[in-house]
């Protein structure tokens, strides 16, 4: 297992795989997003209770899933970086956290927009919302900590430890609707006894979730690649400065 993982540690191999995956991920994002939005916004029926507002859910629920999924990716990447000192894992963790923060923000905003007509309030301090808000702050902390040091390696390590500490929040988010009697409704898709929503609504929901995942993959590849180029540039520039300022020994 570790051996096969280490094969992907090679940046050159990563770039080759990334170049293969990127067009597929981008294409699938556009296709699935188009299909999911059409089915969700036009073709699916309005809810018998929520009316047309239910369509917000086709963005809200996938965004919430992604918020947690991206944090899990960061946590796994951080553990990998700390245990195997894997430079690519650090890059993945750092490139993921702004994306995850955006998904979390999207989830909070769409939830709020849905809450106003449905619950009559923009915000309620119930367990699910509060724990997602904490997740958002964890993302912000992760982002600022990784950039707070003059030495980027130290920043990456500190951020990894913080990411692992923040993992305690993930089960709290997932089970908050079961542990506390909250305003937020309990799970209706990932249940042991099967989803409780109708197929006509489940299909666009899953398509949107898949589209969001593909979007994340495409964005992650772009960001990691940009960061790798940035580091190369920095090293090249430092080398150029060194060559220019340090005169060659006379003897």
């Amino acid at each position: 297992m570790t051996v096969s993982l280490h094969r992907f540690a090679n940046p050159a191999r990563f770039l080759k795989i990334a170049a293969l995956v990127l067009p597929w991920a981008s294409g699938l994002t556009v296709g699935l997003l188009g299909l999911g939005l059409y089915l969700g916004l036009v073709a699916s029926p309005p809810d018998y209770q929520q009316g047309e507002s239910v369509r917000i859910m086709y963005v809200h629920v996938p965004a919430a899933w992604m918020a947690m999924f991206v944090y899990s990716v960061i946590a796994v990447a951080s553990a990998t970086a700390l245990i195997w000192r894997h430079p690519l894992a650090d890059l993945v963790a750092q490139a993921s956290s702004p994306i995850g923060a955006c998904f979390t923000f999207l989830c909070l905003v769409t939830g709020s927009l849905w809450g106003k007509p449905m619950w009559g309030t923009w915000w309620m301090w119930d367990a699910r919302m509060t724990s997602v808000l904490i997740l958002f702050f964890l993302y912000l902390g992760h982002m600022s900590l990784s950039k707070a040091f003059d030495d980027p390696v130290r920043g990456a390590k500190a951020a990894s430890v913080l990411a692992l500490v923040g993992v305690v929040n993930l089960p709290i988010i997932k089970f908050s609707v079961d542990w506390w009697n909250t305003l937020h409704q309990p799970a209706s898709v990932m249940r042991l006894d099967g989803p409780t929503i109708d197929g006509s609504m489940l299909t666009p929901l899953l398509l949107m979730a898949l589209a969001f995942t593909m979007y994340y993959v495409a964005l992650l590849i772009l960001r990691v690649r940009a960061e790798m180029l940035d580091r190369k540039l920095r090293t090249a520039r430092l080398a150029a400065v060194d060559a220019a300022t340090v005169p060659a020994p006379a003897r």
Binding site: F137, L145, A148, K157, V161
Partner: protein, 221 residues
């Protein structure tokens, strides 16, 4: 065990010789709470209603104030490197430093809390619950804070960054701490909330020193 106790004694002695640190924290705590009646108006009913939450939040800010100092002084004069090199496990060193931090700032906060409860018109039941909840909650604050303090060691603007990292993690302590006070005021059992606070402390006790030790090792690499 001997080096552990010695480290606690050393940190306490340092804290009390520069008596400023503990006193400043308590003064900040008192002053911050006393500002609230000016902000929301001196009506006893309103103050009694919000007292538990206000005192808890201000105690957290006060605990945060002194956190930056937890490893900073040792880091700057090099004694942290010696502590890391010592045969005692680094996690135990962190626990010793947290214990000293709690004794020098957490305990004074707990002692000042009943007085502030009186000022804020909190009922006697509420004051009792507040003290017990603070006694269970403030060690957790020191432990979680140690992780933040270790991770921001040597960072640019570490003092601003620290609250950003630590405050979100403080929220569970705040929730159950305030819930205990509210339960006591409204005549409900406060035991479940206190048990949850105890559970948080028991979870933080092994996990936080471990994470803080990892942070310290990175800072010294």
């Amino acid at each position: 065990m001997r080096p552990f106790l010695r480290l606690v004694r050393r940190d306490l002695r340092l804290a009390f010789r520069q008596a400023g640190d503990s006193a400043t924290v308590v003064m900040f705590f008192v002053l911050a709470v006393v500002l609230i009646p000016f902000g929301v108006g001196p009506e006893p009913a309103i103050l009694a209603r919000i007292a538990g939450g206000i005192i808890w939040v201000m105690a957290m800010f006060a605990a945060l104030l002194s956190l930056e100092r937890l490893f900073q002084a040792d880091y700057e004069d090099g004694s942290l490197e010696l502590l890391v090199l010592s045969p005692q496990p680094l996690a135990a060193t962190v626990v010793a430093k947290c214990l000293a931090h709690w004794l020098s700032t957490g305990v004074p906060l707990i002692l000042a809390a009943p007085l502030l409860g009186l000022v804020m018109n909190l009922e006697a039941d509420g004051i009792g619950a507040l003290v017990v909840a603070l006694a269970l909650g403030t060690p957790t604050l020191s432990l979680i804070g140690a992780v933040g303090a270790a991770l921001t060691l040597g960072a640019r603007r570490g003092g601003v960054l620290l609250p950003l990292l630590v405050l979100p993690l403080y929220i569970p302590v705040l929730i159950f701490g305030v819930a205990a006070v509210e339960a006591a005021i409204s005549g409900l059992p406060m035991r479940p909330h206190l048990l949850l606070l105890g559970a948080l402390l028991l979870a933080a006790l092994p996990l936080c020193p471990w994470a803080a030790a990892a942070g310290l090792r990175q800072a010294l690499e």
